[in-house]
Symmetry: C2
């Protein structure tokens, strides 16, 4: 046993390790159905060893949801910091969100299943709504600058686009051949350019 | 009490009525957490009154999932019966699926949460996969005929597009101002034409 595992008191799990196992259990059995006892069993730890790292099951949930939400909010911050047109910043947000989903699949999956049964869940839902609102504002800005079509309601556009992105948690399997960059390209291709054969080349031909 | 309710034995609920209440309960508490006793309480009926209509909780689930799946399969049948290009048939499928979601919101919501824990659920998942496969085949056909861009994998296209459509169950509220036709228009606009300002008008101008 190394000095490091001795210092942590329990071999094999640091705080992040416990969090990972907890999130997997919440996703498999549901948050309500996963007691601290069930978690302790899965970890092979005593309940008090878990309480050494987290004061409550609620705190574990809070940390997991914050991991997903902070990453998504970071994508918006990064896009806001760029000076491009709103349509280009939206492009960055869509790609960034796909990367967050793929890289933090378990915690985003958990976030998307939150229904607001506890105070922690309600705060997470409020942050999701704030995120959606900022995406909607970005869509509106792109419509106003004339780079996105303005015949669609900005909030419906934002819901449909993120519906497409969020669906990735249903079918993406790590190491399954699809990488995040490729999925991000595909999402942007569908959302911004659509599936019909592009007419852009024809326009260039005609202009040329 | 009318002759009709007397003949049914219990006032207020026929088979469809029991099904509606059961689906709402399954969506609210989860299928596993909803016992026949809980259902009887919610209906104000005895368990044996429910068993008069359904042999088991599984049969109720089966009927609810079949209602969603039959409607979705019907959309494919109808599109296949039309003689248009594959891209136009896909357009019909996307619009038809939006209508099914809006009109059968509770049973589709239930279908989308099925994880395959029972034989009934596994059969429903198999029907969903068969549906997805037929949509993917339609996308491939449209790519082959040259009406949809072929640089995207047909199965990813089908997943992303239905991800967008299925997300409707997360935010659509009956009577909330958005009608099914309008949402269907929006879905087709995003999926087929994309959000960027269309260049089609310019092509027509240049051709004219």
């Amino acid at each position: 046993m190394s000095e490091n595992t001795l210092r942590r008191g329990r071999p094999g799990y640091d705080q992040q390790g416990i969090l990972d196992v907890a999130v997997a259990a919440f996703n498999e059995y549901g948050y309500d159905a996963t007691s601290m006892g069930v978690l302790a069993d899965r970890l092979g730890l005593s309940k008090s060893a878990i309480y050494h790292h987290f004061t409550s099951k609620d705190e574990i949930l809070d940390r997991a949801l914050d991991s997903a939400l902070s990453a998504l909010e970071g994508v918006l911050e990064q896009a806001d910091a760029s000076t491009g047109r709103a349509a280009d910043r939206l492009d960055l947000v869509l790609r960034g969100a796909v990367h967050v989903l793929v890289e933090r699949l378990p915690s985003v999956t958990l976030l998307l299943r939150v229904r607001g049964n506890t105070e922690v869940e309600r705060l997470a839902l409020a942050r999701r709504r704030a995120f959606d609102k900022r995406v909607t504002a970005l869509v509106s800005e792109a419509q106003a600058e004339g780079s996105l079509r303005s015949d669609l309601d900005a909030s419906v556009v934002s819901r449909l686009t993120f519906g497409m992105i969020n669906s990735i948690v249903e079918w993406y399997r790590p190491g399954g051949g699809e990488d995040a960059d490729r999925i991000a390209d595909d999402v942007v291709a569908v959302a911004l350019d659509g599936l019909r054969m592009p007419t852009a080349n024809r326009v260039e031909d005609l202009l040329g």
